[in-house]
Amino acid sequence: MSTIVLLLITGLGLGALYFLVASGLSLIYGLMGVLNFAHGSFLTLGAFIGWEVARRLSDGTWWTLGASMIAGAIIGAAFAAATEFFLIRPLYLRHIEQVLVTVGLALASVALFEGIWGTDPIYVVNPEWLGLTTEILGARIPNSRFLLIGCAALVLLAIVLFLKHTRYGLIIRAGVENRSMVTALGIDVRRAFTLVFAIGGAAAGLGGVLASVYYGYVSAHIGGSLLIFAFIVTVIGGLGSLAGAAVASVLVAVLQQFANYYLWGTGDLAVVLALAAVLLIRPQGLMGKSVR
């Protein structure tokens, strides 16, 4: 029983990390039809800037971690907004070129990060409590997972409230459904594009700082490895569906944890098989809309 509880909660923690990356990916694709392969770079930059903030303040305190998270989110949003404005917007409706430019940016930014911060992992110092465990139903859960789950839940809540109760949220929800009709109502949907990129980048930047808490280090490749699973989550959940991204993040991460434990470390394989099964049975994803 305690093993199952441990796998479930650590799976939720990993799912929280996936969600922070996948939520932005899903919204960006849903509104703009852009597969953003540079999304991992937003996360990596957020992680590095978070670490830079932490080492300049007093490492290992909650205040420092909070400041790192805010800095990571801000830099992620700024990097993402700049990417949309300077690289994606000139290629509007040219999806192949957009994919190529985001792939190029992802490769170039990893090289840039390695040039600035080196190729070796940089180990981070977190508040002491995050290194301890809490016992739940006999399972000793690493406390860092609670931080991840809490932050992801807050991000989900914030995005839902934004989408539900603001004018731009309304534009984004409508744009995901029918972008050209939104423009035909006299709305400049390009502003919503930049905003969605910024929101996705902020979530990814925050995810970068939390990923450094989860893994205990920062490296130039931290975003790339998470991006693969975030894409899988996005496809399984349904491209463009925030709720789908949330549900699929948890399903994928929990499946991964259970398969790793009970099926001889085959978690990654199980996730890929789940992706294949979803694509065969329900190509639009769990909560995505079918293409007419």
Binding site: L170, I171, T183, A184, L185, G186, D188
Partner: protein, 263 residues
């Protein structure tokens, strides 16, 4: 003849490299309803979309004496052009109220006018638009356009697939709107055209082949047959083919009111 609010010259439109509007030129007067007619697939909807910049286009489009053919769609609409698209294109995941809220361009939108014109929508404000009937969805689509003070309305097949009773309601709503705003109307229902149109522009093979007063066309059976491909007499029978499942039973019950043709 009143001054023209919209002038279209040598308009060409294409979708994914395929030419769908060949060389269209016509004017829309600043009062009344101008009907854009033609057989299926001649480029009526594409002409409307070309005017709005929703598809790739070349040529000259002038609105109130100002060139708009290089403007993005949202800027064109902001000039005061309301658009009611073919197939409604309401946002099905949003509520009725959200659909209308999204469409508000003016600081003081005409909510009272809309509430009077479509009282059903007031009661269904919290309902998801995707769960409405076809007729109610058309009301939402019309309300989105009429909510703002427009200088021109582009209305694309507003009665398509609707039951005859709803067709009448839609036509009446447009007739009310036409008292204050000129309308460029794409329509397949001859009875609606008779009720609303002051002037007609007929397209064939992506080009204008006839322009004139509505009566000039509608009173001439031979001209209708030649330009629109139907006899006025056969209009009722052809309506059964083009009507949706929603309207077919109602059309059978009251076919005399449904003079829809496959134009």
């Amino acid at each position: 003849m009143s001054e023209n609010i919209l002038s279209v010259r040598a308009l060409r439109g294409s979708i994914a490299g395929q030419q769908v509007v060949e060389d269209v030129s016509f004017d829309v007067p600043s009062t009344g309803v101008t009907a854009l007619l033609g057989r299926n697939g001649v480029g009526k909807t594409s002409t409307i979309k070309s005017i709005l910049g929703l598809i790739t286009r070349t040529g000259e489009v002038t609105f109130e004496g100002r060139r708009i053919d290089r403007m993005p769609t949202h800027k064109i609409v902001q000039l005061g052009i309301g658009y009611v698209p073919e197939d409604r294109e309401i946002f099905s995941a949003l509520t009725v109220a959200e659909n209308l809220k999204l469409a508000e361009r003016d600081a003081a939108p005409n909510r009272e006018f809309i509430d009077e014109l479509f009282p059903d929508l007031v009661q269904r404000a919290a309902q998801r638009a995707g769960t409405l009937s076809g007729g109610q969805q058309q009301m939402v689509s019309l309300a989105r356009a009429l909510l703002n003070t427009n200088k021109l309305l582009l209305v694309d097949e507003p009665t398509k697939g609707l039951a005859p009773r709803i067709v009448g309601e839609v036509a009446n709503a447009l007739e009310t709107a036409a008292r204050t705003v000129p309308i460029l109307l794409v329509e397949q229902n001859l009875q609606v055209i008779r009720q609303l149109a002051d002037r007609v522009v007929v397209l064939a093979d992506g080009r204008v082949v006839f322009t004139g007063e509505a009566d000039e066309l509608l009173d001439d059976e031979d001209l209708i047959t030649r330009l629109l491909g139907v006899h006025g007499d056969s209009a009722e029978s052809s309506s059964a083919e083009s009507s949706s499942a929603e309207s077919s039973s109602a059309a059978a019950a009251d076919s005399s009111t449904n003079e829809e043709v496959s134009v």
